[in-house]
Amino acid sequence: MSRYVIIAGCGRLGSLLAEELSRAGDSVVVIDKDESRFARLSSDFSGFRIHGDATELEVLRQAKADRADALIAATSLDNVNLMVAQVARVVFHVPVVVARVFNPAREAIYRRLGLRVVCPTKLSANSFLAALQEEE
């Protein structure tokens, strides 16, 4: 079934996710406050682009966040992602919300508050440690 997914941040991660989900048949809206970042999206991306700051309620409203099945907060700033994710959950009642958080100390507390958080720093540390162990 096709889902309606909002992605905040069209950097390397955001654009990659947008393309994958769009290819899989989901309808996708990407938000970025820097319009030039939409150039990362390939021509077969069939979703929408919104030029704006996702920390503004008005921009999320414009993205029809109240109807979204999921929101991914994937900007390069932890605090932006944490705020956008919480607003999506509390104000717009988006059922699935995931935030990227680089700082592991921040990640732990927001996980405890019930937010779904992906910490790239921890994930890559784990991969490196696993690689070291394979060598032994």
Partner: protein, 221 residues
């Protein structure tokens, strides 16, 4: 008593001075190195140069002992995260955040910030209330803006002059609390007749403020 203030600039400086003069042990966290140096030269405060939205920096600043944290950074998301970390990780009982987008005032409160203040919202409210009436002085707002205490002066054009309070059709959840007439202080009741140049202290709510002013003073300019 321990207070933590986050940010840079004059408002941080002056707020810190207030806290210090009230006997708070005050710590400032500033991301800007030059601002941090400046604060530590001029204030009897502990100054930390760092990111106040980093749990390690908050801990170093003594967040565990703080009774209040005020976050005055220039990005809403930073003020939100600083307040949430202070509350959830370190148990700071009162957190205050500056918000730039007025819509975030309510959102921040929903997300656990004790007080969220929007300068744009406050200014626009003040301007709206001031432009229409010259004889109105907004004294203070109570209960996070839910009740306003206002002083109004009855001049020649005021329809309330020479009428009893009960004739004015004031809404139930507003109150003319005091009438100041020359040196006399009157606690009014329904039969109190208002006179020219009476000064009234009124309690109103945002929903009926305009209605009360119109009943007492007539239409504004």
């Amino acid at each position: 008593m321990h207070a933590i203030i986050l940010g840079q600039g004059k408002s941080v400086y002056h707020l810190a001075r207030r806290f210090i003069s009230k006997g708070y042990h005050t710590t400032i966290i500033s991301r800007d190195a030059a601002a941090a140096r400046n604060f530590s030269r001029k204030l009897k405060a502990t100054v930390v140069h760092g990111d106040g939205t980093d749990p390690g920096v908050l801990e170093e600043a003594g967040a565990r002992r703080a009774s209040i944290l005020v976050s005055l950074m220039m990005e809403d998301q930073d003020n939100l995260v600083a307040c949430q970390l202070a509350k959830e990780m370190f148990g700071v009982p009162r957190t205050v955040a500056l918000v730039l987008d007025p819509e975030n005032e309510t959102v921040f409160r929903q997300l656990g910030v004790t007080v969220a203040i929007s300068v744009a919202h406050m200014l626009s409210q003040i301007i709206e209330e001031q432009v229409s009436y010259e004889d109105v002085i907004n004294l203070t707002s109570l209960a996070q803006g839910k009740v306003a205490l206002t002083e109004v002066i009855l001049t020649e054009t005021a329809p309330a002059v020479d009428r009893e309070l009960r004739e004015l059709g004031l809404p139930r959840n507003a109150l003319v609390a005091t009438v100041l007439r020359n040196d006399e202080v009157i606690i009014p009741h329904g039969e109190t007749r208002l006179r020219l140049y009476d000064r009234l202290l009124i309690l109103t709510q945002p929903g009926n403020h305009g209605q009360v002013l119109r009943a007492l003073l007539g239409e504004g300019e």
